[in-house]
Symmetry: C2
Subunit: 455 residues, 2 copies
């Protein structure tokens, strides 16, 4: 609420061209909040707005604004402004920006970088997409094993300001990572102590080609602020910081959720994905699931003769399908999320089956009981549908029990099996399971109907 008021005021000042007042307000604001004003501002005003900011604040703000506006700004910037931004940004942020930009913008950026920065950027761009190397920054503090605490502080004072974090320092011996030491350890140690004597040697590190999702998971497991990245010979080449790990976690969650909803995952925000691109993310699963519904069609067709003499049965097909689908998606999504946060492991499958077995009986019986009452009171009495007999109500309710039972067991099993054979469990969410459960429920429905009703 309060933040929105500040936005409104700044936008009004901008539109009224009251630059002095605006400047005074902006100077007191946080870069992330100023980025929010850029989002609200009109396109023609963003360069103007940017130029109202003091140099350092401007560059910090640049890292927070969205990539569409970053692109526009870079194309409008003077060469000096580009250099100022590059000086101020951490290298991993620069690389993240470059990865989102079209080629002409990238070349403008690289042309203005000094040769050392350009080399480092190119090196980072070289790591595979989604690897630890692609999200790390080479800006960390390293100390030599033989240094004293006093020498270490001198080094930190000298180089610390341009490093992304100084809170953990990495100890190297012939460029190999041999330990870590925290600022707190340094502060509480005697100035003449050698680093080798106070460093922690049990270092958690990752390789440059490690999947960034695995790296992010280490942060939540070990509660770290940064993790060192090493090459094949255990030489430290960079660090991944916790703020980037948080971004990765959010991206990965989005990907999981998309897979569960039968979407091909996209790594671009909604409005940056074109119509045809969006279509391509959605059509594969829609098509596959539509074609696989041929089976339900075949099942119904084979009972067509019986159905034509008992059309009342048709009225409950959608309800049976939807309930089965919902019951299955409850189980599968629970298991998929449990696998992804580590509450559930592959070897738990029998415990899960036993639990879902009992839950499905409870759910099935409760739904069946409610359904009998509902069919006899609402469908038969209230809606006056004399075809809905007690026997029909029993047939539908028995099918419900079977459908819920099958849905829960299939729903909890498939994600675990997928994980076991190395597939992503998230694909085994509702849409896939619905198709299977639909077919099973229909077979049960017609078999039960044949047994109970003389058709």
């Amino acid at each position: 609420m309060e933040r929105q008021t500040v936005y409104d005021i700044t936008i009004k000042l901008l539109e009224a061209r009251k630059f002095q007042e605006l400047k005074a307000i902006l100077q007191e604001m946080n870069p992330a909040d100023i980025a929010g004003i850029f989002e609200e501002a009109e396109e023609k005003d963003i360069l103007l707005l940017y130029r109202l900011l003091p140099k350092e604040l401007a560059s910090e703000t640049f890292a927070y604004i969205d990539s569409e506006q970053q692109e526009k700004l870079i194309m409008a910037f003077s060469d000096k402004e580009i250099r100022d931004v590059l000086d101020e940004l951490f290298l991993d942020d620069t690389v993240a920006i470059i990865e989102e930009m079209p080629a002409n913008v990238v070349s403008r950026i690289l042309r203005n970088a000094d040769s050392e920065t350009r080399d480092k950027i190119n090196e980072l761009l070289h790591y595979p997409k989604d690897s630890a190397g692609s999200i790390m920054t080479p800006e960390y503090v390293y100390l030599d094993k033989g240094m004293t605490v006093k020498q270490s502080f001198e080094k930190i004072r000298k180089v610390g300001v341009v490093k992304e974090t100084i809170y953990t320092c990495y100890v190297t011996e012939q460029r190999k990572l041999v330990g870590v030491v925290s600022i707190l350890d340094l502060l509480t140690a005697d100035p003449e102590t050698h680093i080798a004597d106070i460093m922690e040697t049990n270092v958690i590190s990752v390789g440059t080609h490690e999947d960034k999702e695995t790296v992010a998971a280490l942060f939540s497991k070990y509660d770290m602020l940064a993790i060192p990245v090493v090459d094949g010979e255990n030489r430290i080449v960079g660090i991944v910081t916790v703020d980037d790990a948080i971004d990765v976690m959010q991206e990965e969650t989005t990907e999981d959720i998309e897979k569960m909803a039968a979407l091909v995952p996209s790594d671009k925000p909604y409005f940056r994905t074109g119509i045809f691109e969006t279509f391509k993310k959605r059509i594969p699963w829609l098509m596959l699931l539509m074609i696989s519904a041929t089976f339900t069609g075949i099942i119904i067709t084979s009972f067509e003769e019986k159905l034509s003499s008992m059309v009342v049965l048709t009225a409950f097909i959608p309800m049976l399908m939807d309930t089965g689908g919902n019951a299955g998606s409850q189980a599968s999504v629970t298991v998929i999320r449990g696998l992804s946060v580590g509450d559930i492991r592959i070897k738990d499958i029998f415990r899960i089956l036993w639990k879902e077995f009992r839950v499905s009986i409870l759910c099935g019986v409760a739904l069946a009981a409610a359904n009998i009452v509902k069919m006899l009171l609402v469908d038969r009495l209230l809606l006056n549908n004399s075809d809905v007999t007690a026997t029909v109500a029993v047939v539908v309710s028995l099918t419900l029990v079977v459908a819920v039972f099958a849905a829960k067991l299939i729903g909890c099993t498939l994600p675990i099996l997928a994980k076991k054979i190395g597939f992503d469990p998230a694909v085994m969410a509702s849409p896939f399971i619905t198709t299977l459960v639909d077919a099973l429920s229909l077979i049960a429905y017609f078999q039960i109907a044949s047994a109970f009703l003389i058709v």
Copy 2:
């Protein structure tokens, strides 16, 4: 892989009672990894395993093991062991543990805490569930505005070791929060400088009653390592650290995913939720959605007469329902996630409708074309079903276009409307939308069929 090998070796040593070797290995391990061994160990061995650890490592490990085992350990501990753990744990971790424990365990813990700790624990337990106060720790470093840098370092050296983070120090004046200063600022400043001259006064803080989800979102927005929590008079009472914010993010995501899958959210892991409790989380939505399927029943019943003369139409009902449901859930889940990560705002609704409108036409037409081919080649020719005429194929395909169109537009609109009126958009995911789209598609199906087929 490697980590699993270490687990296997330690478990084997434990079972073979080779305590000396086991002890040597454990000492070199990280507490989070040792906690993994506890998960694999047999219940009768966990106290034994715990007692093999050096005191400090034991307490650190305790914070990482799961609550079921923590409970067993506390009941098996000597009073001294409980005190050792309490001494070592950060207060917010202690509070998090206490919140999971039954009353008899809680009283054992509180009985062994010294009176100061007990008061602080009680104070923290007093904050509302899900508030900033409930996840904060009172263990932060605060400095007085008038201190010099040199005095500040003396204070940090003295108290730092028992504080959860020293990397950001909070500056107070008459207990009110007036600024922050980072360790890096202190290190690079002259020792005689006053804190007031180097502190950052634009402080981002939250109130004790702020929702913890909002607090977590601030971390990813501002890239912070800790955020100060203040009372109604702007007096700092604690800090929330980034590791706890990550846990909150994960919990909130799980909650969103559960809501999308028609589950009542649970805050307990899968295996800690009892059968009846799981049933209660699942039955409300299943019941509601089942009852709401009465509408699809009514629609089918009202076309019963026509259906009985064209039973072939029944065979395609499940396919139409499922495709509509899938198309709707694609749109709704995309919008729900976009809203939650901030890519999409309420005011974007018309941009979204326009985009989904075009995407739905593309998807609908592609599916319809594929369906005509499939019905004529597979259903008519291959499966030899002479009831599937070209006209029937056209009727089904036209319905597909309408169903996908309705599903996409409803799917993208409902979550935004929900947010607009203050509901959680996540509830407007596939199950809810499926029920609506089912009814609309059936009406379209029968209207189109009546128009094209003389029935």
